[in-house]
């Protein structure tokens, strides 16, 4: 989907504008580098100002990302990126908020919040850097690991079936649901641009392989499994979106589902009947009411 709000090339800021001088803590070959680059390029393409951006994350390898961006950021606690992001948007709906973090953060400890942020249709773009493993704690099974996945905490293979992040997002009420791949940073950047432009909860589950601890889900394995959506795919069709999200051959990249609905922020704004200037009158009325 072309993005009409993308700033034209002549007015784009230098890419360095979006980079901080903090050195990434990731292992060489980590998929998160590609996601970070995709993010820089998306912010630039959107013509965003770093003062108006807040990158929110939880805890995990990928959640370190806000430190590598020259914008505002919030590196919170494990699993609570959605509550923090919600609060930031409630406090100042004009800010552009992106959430960036891992599959454990989003779907295990933060799984409850993910569902509620989706049903609220919170106007943020949430990029999940999905490596199917816990990396920061050095290699344990994650909620997107396949059945039988062998790790140090599951030596005989995990008995748990994986969550399908995209089907979960659609079912929970997300209004923009896409899949990206760190191995295709250009396409990923375009997806992030669309996710930022979307008014509502935009989820981009992004394969971002961990070369250190995950020898199963690798750049190579994903390259072999991913594929483009058929040209006739209609992202406004929820049934088709769910089916496409459930496909494992190929694993579709791109926007699987999108719907235009009022965002959480639209609702909050509509409920406001006054401004700060009304505070003295509101207090005076309360004093009369409770006299």
């Amino acid at each position: 989907m072309p993005d009409s709000t993308t700033t034209n090339a002549a007015t784009l800021l230098p890419l360095d504008t979006y980079k901080s001088d903090e050195k990434p803590t990731w292992c060489p070959g980590c998929g998160d580098f590609g996601v970070l680059n995709g993010l820089y390029n998306a912010m630039r393409a959107k013509g965003l100002k770093t003062k108006d951006i807040v990158i929110v994350s939880g805890i995990g390898c990928s959640s370190r990302l806000p430190f590598f961006v020259a914008s505002y950021g919030f590196h919170g606690v494990h699993g609570r990126a959605m509550p923090i992001a919600t609060g930031i948007k409630v406090g100042n709906p004009d800010l552009k908020v992106l959430a960036m973090g891992g599959d454990g953060d989003a779907f295990a400890i933060g799984g409850g919040h993910f569902v509620h942020a989706a049903r609220r249709n919170l106007d943020i773009c949430y990029v999940i850097m999905d490596n199917n493993i816990y990396g920061l704690t050095k290699g344990q099974t994650s909620p997107t690991s396949n059945v039988g996945f062998v790790t140090k905490t599951t030596p005989k293979g995990t008995p748990d079936r994986p969550i399908n992040p995209l089907q979960l997002a659609i079912a929970a009420g997300a209004t923009f649901v896409a899949r990206g791949f760190s191995g295709k940073p250009k396409e990923l950047a375009e997806l992030i641009v669309q996710g930022i432009s979307h008014n509502g909860f935009a989820v981009i589950d992004t394969y971002s392989p961990c070369p250190t601890f995950n020898k199963v889900n690798t750049f190579k394995s994903y390259r072999d499994q991913v594929g483009e959506l058929p040209a006739e795919h209609d992202p406004s069709d929820i049934a088709k979106g769910l089916v496409a999200a459930g496909s494992d051959d190929p694993l579709y990249l791109g926007v699987l589902y999108q719907q235009q609905l009022d965002s959480f922020e639209d609702h909050l704004k509509a409920q406001k009947t006054g401004t700060e200037a009304d505070a003295p009158a509101v207090m005076e009325n309360l004093f009369k009411l409770y006299a």
Binding site: L13, P14, D16, T17, Y18, K19, S20, D21, E22, K49, T50, K51, V54, I55, V56, R64, P66, F67, V69, A70, S71, Y72, G73, F74, H75, G76, V77, R80, M82, P83, I84, T86, G87, I88, K89, V90, G91, N92, D94, L95, G112, H113, V115, H116, L268, Q271, K272, T273, G274, T275, E276, D278, A279, P280, V282, M283, L286, F287, Y290, A291
Partner: protein, 611 residues
């Protein structure tokens, strides 16, 4: 018989039967007529059905506690009688709905009168819903409250429902007055005079409502919460009011989310709060640590109830002090405040926001069941003289924008950044630029609000350097820990004035917190009549302990008692640990408040022992 200057009326019955509405109508009318009022209620644990009670104490003078014994009991049904009759004082008056129960004869312990509420409403008035208004009329007649204020309240409440409904309610009121006038002529011993007219405007509000109003006045603009008894009223109140001033209320999916949202909105520049009770506070503790570490202003109200776990959700305890003051992994900087009365709930809510903003840390406001639900008539706060504190913010550095806009690369700009004053002229994202956690004399660093150019930084729960970058070297951690704890020392010195009562020269001191103070004050008045001098102090700030208030008090007393409503004597333990003073703990953990008579006894016992 002489008139009384103090009367306790208890209304008891099945939840949903109008116990609460009867009590509230009577309370408001009495307050408007000039009586001092103080109420207590026990909501039922069940939603519909189950025992419920409402108690109102009235007097011509200021009241501090609910009253130990009941003078008039109105029982709506048999269970209400069974559960409450033992608390009716000897010589008290039982009135009961004779359509619902026939109590055994009291054997002369108390007087009893049938009050056929159901019968009057159903048969005489043909208006069954009017039963509670008949009850209000009857009770008002018993102690001498005129019908005028009740009629006015009925008009306000029912006028919009039409003349017919209003007139039916007036008739119900008259029927209540009439029945008592005809059937209980000997009411002299129950009559209470209203107080002298007051100069000030009065508000009749609960502790929860006073906290909500104080928060609004203190600048709260975002509230995020998860419903829990007995804190939910605060959320309901603010949900109606905050949108009128451009603010928002969000009902979160759980308490972790609630506090996370409040932290997020505070980071984004709005004064923010959440309110909960013990189980919710337990869930919030990890994120409270985040607010401490990332230095984010935040107000957390904990309306305590009986724990642990789900405990007794509708009963009274002051059991969360350790959790509030000490809870959490690592050492979290936080301030704990406790109001002693409904009026103080307003004041302390303002204090909570001011301290949170001034010191950029979480401030906990500890109330409890009785304070949360208690209604009192209080002087309307003078908003014009209210001191409101806003956080120190970073004004930004427009020069930084220009350097980027002119094409200077972010990385290239770092070379000549070192000399700049907290970020001036340095491009965002450069470590030598704006320092969110810059070391200052007070420990407080100006906070950049997102949207401010040049203030770009990352808030984090990781240990960080002045620029907010994650760093785990020991020297930095020591310096940052010192910075954060220095704010605690500054907060200690900024403690709002303590409540005091009694004879300051007394050798016996009572140190207490929260609504126990009101009970202690009433005990001191009784002891004074018996020639025993006692002095009481209740700090508004419980953590950090305000040395300047507590130390001189403890040192000047021969004996210090610390009454509190928990098993462990939590405040006493904190005081002992800091001042190495052998204060004596007096505890109550039945789920009810202290009886004033119990406090009198304890203090008398100490005096006798000391002689």
């Amino acid at each position: 018989m002489a008139q009384r200057d103090d009367l306790v009326i208890r209304v008891a019955g099945e939840a949903g039967e109008g116990v609460l509405s009867t009590g509230q109508l009577l309370t408001l009318a009495a307050a408007r007529a000039g009586y001092a009022v103080l109420t207590d209620s026990v909501p039922p644990a069940e939603i519909k059905g189950g025992h419920s009670l409402f108690q109102i104490r009235i007097a011509p003078h200021r009241l501090r506690a609910r009253g130990d014994v009941v003078d008039i009991l109105l029982a709506f049904n048999q269970e209400a009688f069974d559960r409450n009759i033992n608390e009716l004082r000897d010589g008290g008056l039982l009135v009961y709905d004779s359509g619902e129960l026939t109590p055994l004869d009291s054997g002369g312990r108390y007087e009893q009168h049938a009050l056929p509420l159901t019968d009057i409403a159903k048969n005489e008035l043909k208006f069954e819903l009017g039963k509670n208004v008949v009850a209000v009329g009857a009770l008002a007649a018993l102690f001498g409250l005129s019908a005028d204020h009740i009629r006015e309240l009925l008009r306000q409440r029912f006028a919009r429902k039409g003349e017919d409904i209003l007139n039916k309610n007036y008739a119900a009121l008259d029927a209540g007055f009439g029945y008592v006038g005809r059937n209980i002529p000997e009411r002299g011993a129950l009559q209470v005079q209203p107080g002298a007219p007051t100069e000030y405007r009065k508000l009749v509000v609960s502790g929860n409502q006073a906290i909500a109003m104080g928060s609004l006045a203190g600048g709260c603009r975002v509230y995020a919460g998860y419903p829990i008894t007995p804190a939910t009223d605060i959320m309901e109140f603010l949900a109606a009011e905050l949108p009128k001033v451009g603010g928002s209320v969000v009902q979160a999916e759980d308490e972790m989310s609630a506090i996370g949202m409040a932290i997020g909105s505070s980071y984004a520049g709005k004064k923010s709060m959440t309110a909960t009770s013990g189980p919710g506070l337990s869930l919030m503790v990890e994120l409270m640590g985040l607010a401490g570490m990332a230095e984010i202003p935040l107000v957390i109200v904990d309306a305590q109830r009986v724990g642990p776990s789900t405990g007794m959700p509708t009963r009274q305890e002051q059991g969360d002090l350790f959790l509030a003051a000490l809870g959490g992994h690592g050492e979290i900087q936080r301030v704990v405040l406790a109001p002693v009365s409904v009026a103080d709930c307003f004041t302390q809510a303002v204090n909570a926001f001011n301290l949170a903003e001034q010191f950029q840390m979480p401030v906990l406001l500890l109330t409890d069941t009785i304070l949360a639900v208690r209604t009192e008539g209080i002087p309307a706060p003078d908003l014009a003289t209210l001191e409101i504190v806003d956080r120190a913010t970073y004004a930004g550095s427009p020069a930084a924008t220009e350097s980027v806009a002119n094409g200077t690369s972010a990385n290239g700009a770092s070379a000549n950044a070192a000399a700049s004053a907290n970020g001036a002229g340095v491009a965002p994202g450069i470590e030598s630029g704006y320092k969110r956690y810059t070391f200052t004399e007070s420990g407080v660093s100006p906070m950049a609000i997102p949207g401010t150019e040049g203030g770009q930084y990352v808030a984090t729960g990781l240990e960080h350097n002045e620029a907010g970058r994650p760093r785990s070297d020991g020297g930095n951690h020591v310096a940052m820990t010192d910075k954060r704890f220095h704010k605690m020392e500054m907060a200690r010195r900024a403690a709002p004035p303590a409540h005091t009562y009694g004879d300051p020269e007394a050798e016996i001191g009572v140190l207490c917190w929260g609504p126990a103070f009101g009970m202690v004050v009433e005990a001191i008045d009784i002891l004074a009549q018996r020639g025993i001098k006692v002095s009481a102090l209740a700090p508004r700030m419980l953590w950090p302990l305000p040395d300047q208030q507590l130390k001189p008090f403890i040192e000047s007393k021969r004996i210090v008692l610390v009454p509190e409503m928990n098993y462990s004597g939590q405040f006493a333990q904190l005081v002992r640990a800091r001042y190495l003073s052998d204060v004596r703990s007096v505890t109550e953990y039945s789920g009810a408040a202290f009886q004033v008579s119990r406090l009198v006894q304890e203090i008398e016992g100490v005096v006798q022992h000391a002689r």
